[in-house]
């Protein structure tokens, strides 16, 4: 490969990864979400142990997506891989795994 084409690959690679500033922004958002989670868990805990769980789950999912998407470069690699076999294999396995866990949970019933 010539020097020019190597440089082109370098540039393409750089285009698909976040900048340092973007990493810091993602980190600040993650930190803020963690603080919000803790506040929510403490402030909305009822005396009987009940809590509004769904906001916590939503915040957890957002944090999951931020780390996987930005830090693990999934958003950026997906742009390169869009439509390729890996994307379908990855998404198919993910959906299958989630379905299996949902079925396992649904199948359990406790009796004291």
């Amino acid at each position: 490969m010539t020097t020019d084409s190597t440089t082109a690959v370098h540039d393409a690679h750089d285009d698909h990864h976040p900048t340092e500033k973007q990493y810091w922004v993602v980190f600040v958002i993650l930190g803020a979400l963690t603080a919000l989670e803790i506040y929510w868990a403490e402030a909305f805990r009822e005396p009987g142990g009940g809590i509004l769980v769904w906001p916590l789950i939503i915040m957890m999912v957002i944090k999951f997506l931020l780390v996987a998407g930005a830090f693990m470069h999934l958003w950026f690699d997906m742009k390169i891989l869009n439509g390729k076999l890996f994307t379908w294999a990855f998404m198919g396995a993910l959906v299958l795994a989630m379905a299996v866990f949902a079925i396992v949970f649904a199948a359990f019933e406790f009796q004291v």
Partner: protein
């Protein structure tokens, strides 16, 4: 050890069909300029694909552990509230009373302390991506700083987990005492072992860096370790919310 790591990296490049990446000194010089390995028909380098497959299997492992924890905790609480002596006799009376009063295991946890640990692990993910970026841009001085920071933050997290386990054990929650203790220690312990494995990988990279062998050609190696490290961080994001925050 680093010589072995060196040879393994070269072998991995050859295995990936990327013989051009290995020169006489063991330095990669592939077409991509980042030790990127050969791109498979799936559109991803073989090394990266292997790491993703490994992480996929890890998803199943932790999925099973988290599911087991949730089911075990639910059963434990049900039996505790029903006053089952087989369960209540496994812990000190004050802990049983606290759990029964709250209707959950939350009184055991020190949320501010665990929150600090979570923040430390999140911060280590940031330093990891900055380390990868530094190696990618041939900024070797900063790459050493960020790799060291990541290993240090991971070590602080592990130290916190050891402290937490010790505190819980002293309060009366043992590994073999009851279903909740077994599930809790297994889940968080497995995560701790993974973090420790990540720290060992980071230390290996640091040794390579200080010997001048972690150059731009090996940016993908740093990225692969980063993928593992971020995965461990993601698992903690789930554990923190599911185990510590949701009753």
């Amino acid at each position: 050890m680093t010589d072995v790591l060196d040879e393994n990296l070269d072998d991995a490049n050859v295995f990936a069909g990327n013989e051009d990446a290995v020169d006489g000194d063991g330095h990669g010089t592939d077409d991509h300029g980042h030790g990127g390995g050969h791109h498979s028909s799936l559109g991803l380098s073989n090394m990266k694909l292997a790491m993703w497959l490994f992480l996929g299997s890890e998803c199943l492992l932790f999925g099973a552990l988290i599911s087991t924890y949730l089911l075990s905790r639910a059963r434990f609480i049900q039996e505790l509230l029903a006053g089952n002596p087989n369960v209540t006799s496994t812990m000190p009376d004050f802990l049983v009373e606290e759990f029964q009063e709250a209707g959950s295991v939350q009184p055991l946890f020190d949320i501010p302390f665990t929150s600090a640990s979570s923040f430390i692990l999140l911060m280590s993910s940031l330093t990891m991506v900055l380390a990868h970026k530094a190696v990618h841009e041939a900024d070797y001085r900063n790459s050493k700083i960020w790799l060291s920071a990541t290993a240090l933050l991971g070590s602080v997290f592990i130290a916190g987990q050891v402290y937490e386990f010790t505190a819980f054990y002293r309060e009366g929650l043992t590994y073999t005492g009851n279903l909740f203790g077994s599930a809790f220690y297994t889940l968080t312990g497995f995560h701790g072992v993974h973090v420790t494995g990540g720290i060992i990988m980071l230390m290996s990279l640091l040794v390579l860096a200080f010997r001048g062998k972690l150059n731009q050609d090996r940016a993908e190696t740093v990225e692969l370790v980063g993928l593992y490290w971020h995965f461990v961080d993601i698992i903690w994001v789930l554990i923190f919310t599911i185990v510590y925050l949701i009753p």
